[in-house]
Structure formats: structure tokens, C-alpha cells
């Protein structure tokens, strides 16, 4: 065993989220690993297709549920395209969990939560949402603002429906203008507007935001305007990685290693980073 050796996992379930985004439910082949494996919401892993290579993404399932992990990916590179060719029962490799996590236990517990996500950016946020919902009594108000370019681009649709029905969640779904369908009942607005109009209060609230850089760029000022201090806003960064272990040398933004110092950062920490991401 060396640090680059992955665990073997088998694909138990495949869900097509959108035309190009897919979710795998994965189980460890080795029962001992399955028993011992734990992670925290926000951590990531290196997923591999043997013969194609490794690719980095977050664990999209909640840390409160044992025995399996889920990941959602968009076919965009060599490995993600190869992942798409796999079927239920096939084997893939997984190294992890790596990196830090959202501080649910030590910072966010006992407060209101605001979750903001755009497109496939819901994957890491979903892990935090469910981890939070699985201990719902530990948190005050929960607000979720989620949007995508079009209705077809919304991921985890069954869960969105479930969240919409729950009285202990304030769910705001939104699609960009032009992305709506005739029967669309949600908002038609971009995320920054949807957040501003959500009626969420900054007081005693922590925000978790993830999505395309352009969405984050225009949503952060809105949060500031609403009164969120920069250290109450958490996000997760992505950069190209190979090792995930702080050695291969490519995910750093100046002195900050996304793989080891992140991937979870506060808006205050991101503001202090050099502009190289």
C-alpha cells in the first residue's frame, strides 16, 4: 500500500441528473474499509477509471450516511468521459477523503443556514445540506437558493422536490431568464437576484455558496449588502489536482494549497488570496 493506491469501489446506482451530469452511488469492495471509512462534508477524493486516470471531485453525499458515497460529475475531460462509460456493477478507484471541510459541528451548529448553489455546484453543497438535514434539530432556519441556466440543467431533481415539500426548509428555485419551461413555477432570475429576493436574514446565519466563478463573483456583493460578514460565507474551490496530497504542486493559489488548506474557504480567506484562480 502506498499513498497513491486507491480503494476499490463498485457502482451500485447511476442517476442521470441532466443531459451531461451523472451521479454514482459507490460502495467499498472491502467490507473492512466500508466499516472504517468516514469523511466530513466538503472533503473530496480522486476517482479513477483504470486505464484512463484519476479525476478530482467532492463527495456529494452526506457524511451522516455510512456505507456508501456519491459523486456527481459532468463529462468534460478524459476521465469523466470514461466514467460515463461505466455501468452498475463496474469497479472504479477512489482515494480520499482529502482536504478540509465545512465547519458544521464547530462553527455552524445552532445557527441559521443559507445554501446557495448554481448548476452542478449543488454537488458539494448537497453534501452539507443533507448532513445538516440529518441533524435538523441542531440548526435554526434552513434556506436553499438553487438555480441553473435552464430547467434541464437543475440537478438532484427528486431531492429538490422533497426539499420543496418540507416545512422546515425555505427552498427557492430559480432559472436564468430564457431557461424556463411553460410549467416552471420557480423564479426566473439569476442567482444574485434570487438571493437578494429570498428574504433571508444575515443575522446569526452562515452561508455556503458554490457554483461557477461568475455566479460567485456577483453573489458575494449581494451577501455583503445583506449584511453577511466575509467570515460567515463559506465556499469550496476547485483547481486541477493530481495527488490531492500536497505534493504534485499544481493546485496552489499563491501560498494556499486547495488540496490541503482547502477546498473549503471563507470569503474572507478568498479575498486574501492572490488573484490567480
Amino acid at each position: 500500500m502506498n499513498i497513491y493506491q486507491p480503494y476499490l469501489m463498485s457502482i451500485k446506482e447511476i442517476t442521470d441528473e441532466t443531459v451531461d451530469t451523472r451521479t454514482f452511488r459507490l460502495e467499498f469492495k472491502d467490507p473492512e474499509v466500508a466499516e472504517k471509512f468516514t469523511f466530513n462534508a466538503g472533503q473530496f477524493g480522486e476517482y479513477s477509471v483504470f486505464g484512463e486516470g484519476e479525476s478530482t471531485f467532492c463527495i456529494a453525499s452526506p457524511s451522516t450516511r455510512k456505507g456508501y458515497i456519491e459523486c456527481s460529475f459532468k463529462a468534460s475531460g478524459k476521465v469523466t468521459r470514461a466514467l460515463r462509460r461505466l455501468s452498475v456493477g463496474d469497479t472504479l478507484g477512489f482515494r480520499g477523503p482529502y482536504g478540509n471541510n465545512f465547519p458544521l459541528d464547530n462553527v455552524m451548529k445552532g445557527h441559521n443556514m443559507l445554501f446557495i448553489a448554481g448548476g452542478i455546484g449543488l454537488a458539494p453543497v448537497r453534501s452539507v445540506i443533507w448532513t445538516c438535514l440529518d441533524q435538523r434539530d441542531q440548526f435554526k432556519d434552513v434556506t436553499i437558493v438553487y438555480g441553473a441556466r435552464s430547467v434541464g440543467d437543475l440537478v438532484y431533481k427528486r431531492e429538490l422536490e422533497e426539499w420543496g415539500k418540507r416545512s422546515d426548509i425555505n427552498l427557492c428555485l430559480s432559472v436564468d431568464p430564457g431557461g424556463e419551461t411553460p410549467d416552471w413555477k420557480g423564479k426566473i432570475a439569476r442567482i444574485p437576484t434570487a438571493v437578494e429576493e429570498s428574504g433571508v436574514k444575515a443575522e446569526d446565519t452562515f452561508a455556503v455558496i458554490c457554483g461557477p466563478p461568475i455566479m460567485i463573483k456577483f453573489t458575494l456583493p449581494v451577501l455583503t449588502k445583506l449584511g453577511f460578514p466575509a467570515d460567515h460565507i463559506y465556499t469550496t474551490l476547485e483547481n486541477r489536482m493530481k495527488c490531492g496530497l500536497g505534493k504534485c504542486g499544481r493546485c496552489n493559489i499563491g501560498p494556499t494549497y486547495v488540496c490541503k488548506d482547502g477546498p473549503v474557504f471563507t470569503a474572507a480567506q478568498i479575498r486574501a488570496l492572490p488573484q490567480e484562480f
Binding site: I3, S48, T91, G246, P255
Partner: protein, 356 residues
């Protein structure tokens, strides 16, 4: 730490003994394709080696982090996949006549290889190796080991440092590994004249390098961090082709890629290959976004990583001052000159560049 006197014959016999015991012995020899250059290569007898004549064209890195190495083998079966991880233990080997810069480079890289996660492949080879360095007298105009806190007689990373004196060598025995290698060899009594001669040779060598570049002050790391957005980076990298030659021959550049190679329909290997932050695809995302999309950003990364990020994290400059990058660069990028210019700017504007 002890000292011992070894005659030329004793050193020759030691190498013969190791080779007879099937221990791999590596030393600088004339390169097969270019007799003007040296390569670290396996030797059968000491006479094949060239001692202290010049800095070998490639560093010792490849014996610890090979240019390409198998991390694991896999076989796909009907039932799934079987993995065989690469062994982390390596057979013992001895390196003779390493330059002190190359030996110390390994010690510097140890820190990142042990940063929370221990890279057993690297450390397996580190533990297997005994390194006998040789007082460097091969410095040229681009050597600057003393500027990064090392020196032509640095003990760092070496198990033994040999200093040539009349009739043989004065051996500084630095570690228990060095002690074990020279157990029962040579004499413990060293003639006073030999000791004095070694001291003179060592300080003369240091002075020669010191003349190339002043010692990099501790504040330099912080100054670079503060000046991340300084326009100087745009000018500095104009001659950089982005070829990555500097990283290949660098003793401390350790960045790598991990790729799979499919050997047949159901078998293959996962490899680690050297990579370089100077190439354009190094940080390219699958989406097409590239956080370091231009060469000046990539060159800034190289300088920042070596002289700011690594020192801040691990307390060491990620550079041994060996000068290889300056010798290898097809664009004439000369690291000691560039570092010298940056140091002058830091001195002139300690609070940061005026353009900030």
C-alpha cells in the same frame, strides 16, 4: 560527527567491496553521448568515476523520484479489478562523489514528501541510499549555493563529505549511515596538515561561490509574497519558452503528473511522471479555464514556489543554487541573475513595489 582519513587505495577498495556485495554504486561518469558532460551512472570500479570536475548535467533527483515510475499495476477481471501497488522498499545503494548541492536538495524535498502524508516511494529510496558527497570545486558563474544557505562543503543531505587532501581524502562522517559505510576503513588519526589543508580548500570553495550572489535574506520570501501582482513578472518571463527544461534538471522541482497506461485489453499501470509548472497545460482545467494562463504567471509560480511559498511553509528555499536551470535554459533565463535583480528591488523597495 567524526572525521577520518582515507587513502585513494582505501576508497577504491571500498567501492570494489560494495560492488562485490552486489550493492549498486552510483557516481558521476563522462556522459556517453557527450564527453564534456557528466552523468550520475552505476559504476563497477572507482576509476570510472570523475571526482569533483564539474556539476553533473542532471541532478540526483532521478534516483529518488524517477522521471517515470509505476505507482501500481492493475488487472481488470470479470469480477472487478485487482491492484498491485509498487513496492516501497528499495535495495540499498551508495552514491559516490555527489555534489553537496544535489545531496542537500534531497533533504529539502523530504519536507514536502512528508507533508502530512508520507510518500513511501520517495522515502523508501531515501532510506536505501547512502550518500558520499565530494567538496565541490566545479563551480562556475551560475553557481549560487551559498546564496540559498548551502555551500560547496555543505553537510546537508550527505552521509559523508569527502575533501581531497594530499595522499587521500579527509572524510567528514555526518550520519550513522556514513559511520556504517566507513566502519573499519581508513585512519582515525588525521595529520594536522591534512586537516588544515581541508579547511583551506573548503573556505576557498565557499568564497568562490559567494562572489556570484549574496546570501538571500530571510525577508525576501515575504517581499515576494507581497509583490505577487507586481508588473515585474511580465518583464522577467519574456524569454521563457515554457519548455520545462529547468524543472527536469532541477534537484528540487518535484511536481508530477499521474497517468494511466493501458498495456493490453485488461491490464495496465498507473504512472507518476515528472511535470513542470512552466508548461501551459499544467494547471488547465477540463472546462478550458486556466488559472495560470500566461507564461508570466507560470514563471511567477516557479519563483514564488521556490523562494517564498516553500520557505514560508517548510523553512527552506526550494533551490540548491546548482545553476543547472541557467545552464539548460534555451532562452537564456539566468536564475541567479534574476534572483539578484529581485533582491536588489527588495532592498530598494522593502515595503513593496511602487506600482502596487
Amino acid at each position: 560527527m567524526t572525521q577520518r582519513f582515507l587513502s585513494q587505495a582505501e576508497l577504491t577498495a571500498l567501492v570494489a567491496e560494495l560492488v562485490a556485495a552486489k550493492t549498486r554504486v552510483i557516481a558521476p561518469v563522462r556522459a556517453q553521448d557527450n564527453p564534456e558532460q557528466l552523468d550520475y551512472m552505476p559504476i563497477q570500479k572507482l576509476e570510472e568515476a570523475t571526482f569533483g570536475a564539474q556539476v553533473p548535467r542532471r541532478s540526483l533527483k532521478e534516483f529518488f523520484l524517477p522521471a517515470t515510475e509505476v505507482l501500481l499495476r492493475y488487472v481488470q477481471t470479470k469480477e472487478g479489478v485487482e491492484i498491485k501497488a509498487a513496492p516501497t522498499e528499495a535495495p540499498p545503494f551508495v552514491i559516490f562523489s555527489a555534489t553537496p548541492c544535489d545531496a542537500s536538495g534531497l533533504d529539502v524535498v523530504d519536507k514536502v514528501m512528508n507533508w502530512d502524508y508520507k510518500d513511501e516511494l520517495w522515502f523508501g529510496r531515501r532510506e536505501a541510499a547512502t550518500i558520499v558527497s565530494f567538496l565541490c570545486a566545479a563551480m562556475d558563474a551560475v553557481c549560487f549555493c551559498t546564496a540559498v544557505g548551502l555551500g560547496p562543503d555543505s553537510f546537508r543531505g550527505s552521509d559523508v563529505l569527502l575533501v581531497p587532501v594530499e595522499g587521500g581524502y579527509l572524510a567528514h562522517i555526518i550520519t550513522p549511515k556514513g559511520e556504517a559505510l566507513l566502519k573499519g576503513k581508513g585512519k582515525e588519526e588525521i595529520p594536522a596538515s591534512a586537516k588544515a589543508a581541508a579547511e583551506v580548500a573548503q573556505s576557498a570553495a565557499r568564497e568562490k561561490v559567494e562572489a556570484n550572489l549574496a546570501k538571500i535574506p530571510a525577508e525576501f520570501a515575504g517581499w515576494l509574497a507581497k509583490n505577487f501582482d507586481h508588473p515585474l513578472w511580465k518583464t522577467l518571463s519574456l524569454r521563457c519558452h515554457g519548455c520545462g527544461a529547468c524543472a527536469s534538471i532541477c534537484p528540487t522541482c518535484h511536481c508530477f503528473d499521474i497517468v494511466d497506461e493501458h498495456d493490453s485489453s485488461n491490464e495496465g499501470v498507473r504512472r507518476r511522471n515528472w511535470d513542470s509548472c512552466q508548461t501551459s497545460k499544467f494547471t488547465l482545467h477540463a472546462s478550458g479555464h486556466n488559472p495560470r494562463g500566461s507564461q508570466n504567471e507560470r514563471f511567477r509560480q516557479r519563483i514564488q514556489h521556490k523562494f517564498s511559498i516553500y520557505p514560508a511553509k517548510f523553512g527552506d528555499i526550494l533551490c540548491t543554487g546548482c545553476g543547472r536551470c541557467a545552464r539548460a535554459c534555451p532562452g537564456g533565463m539566468d536564475l541567479p541573475t534574476i534572483v539578484g535583480e529581485l533582491m536588489a528591488m527588495a532592498k530598494a523597495e522593502p515595503e513593496g513595489g511602487s506600482n502596487l
